[in-house]
């Protein structure tokens, strides 16, 4: 693999991500696995499509790793995010953080997923039985007016 942060159009292998942070002085490896959910507030998702600005997304994932290193100097982080068409239960993202003690690994892992949702240029499109919609674009464009599909966000 050669690097700890990547975007892939192939199914993610959890063990590959975990292996990147496995080391002798770790007492904990926390893994977060983000998967495709079928129902959101009662609305059924058929499948998702993820798109990324790959070069920048990988840079931003790495930047999250640097931020984690500043906050938790002993943490090692690896993150993989998938793009393309994903079916229900498929894995969209895998985060692995190893630290000497468990509390830091939980916190750093949570930090990573929250930052992904803020700064990494990746988008998902929900496909429903009655339509499709890019998620993330309704909040700013339709201030105060729920756009079609908002209920399912």
């Amino acid at each position: 693999m050669g690097k700890n942060y990547w975007i892939s159009d192939k199914p993610l292998v959890i063990q590959e991500v975990v292996d990147l942070v496995t080391r002798r002085n770790a007492g904990a490896i926390n893994t977060f696995i983000g998967t495709v959910r079928e129902f959101t507030k009662g609305k059924r998702t058929l499948y998702l499509e993820y798109e990324a600005y790959k070069a920048m997304a990988e840079k931003k994932l790495e930047e999250i790793g640097h931020e984690i290193k500043e906050k938790w100097p002993e943490a090692e982080t690896a993150i993989a995010h998938r793009v393309g068409r994903l079916e229900i239960t498929d894995i969209a993202v895998v985060i692995a953080v190893s630290t000497p003690h468990r509390a830091d690994s939980y916190e750093a892992s949570r930090y990573a997923i929250e930052r992904i949702k803020e700064i990494v240029p990746i988008w998902k499109k929900e496909h429903w039985e009655d339509g499709e919609h890019w998620i993330g674009d309704q909040k700013e464009t339709k201030q105060g007016i729920p756009a079609k599909g908002d209920a399912s966000k």
Partner: protein
């Protein structure tokens, strides 16, 4: 010349993944204005911008050869 990239809903509105424009010396804010008024790509107004893969503000001045990407609100994870 500058390459301008569009993603997700913005790409669909633009009908293109990328276009080439000479916007050397213009600001990101001015480019947003041009894209929305002349090309009817008004979703750029709600998008963040990146120059050469780094986020920038509207005041950023574009240089020759810069790649500009418009980043609609993200939804990864």
């Amino acid at each position: 010349m500058n390459q301008i990239l569009f993603f997700a809903g913005l790409r669909e509105q633009a009908g293109e993944e990328s276009i080439e424009l000479d916007v050397n010396g213009r600001s990101i804010g001015e480019l947003k204005q041009t894209l929305s008024s002349r090309y009817a790509i008004d979703k750029v107004k709600e998008s963040m911008a990146a120059v050469n893969e780094e986020f920038v503000q509207d005041e950023e001045i574009i240089k020759e050869g810069d790649t500009i990407a418009f980043i609609p609100p993200v939804s990864g994870g």
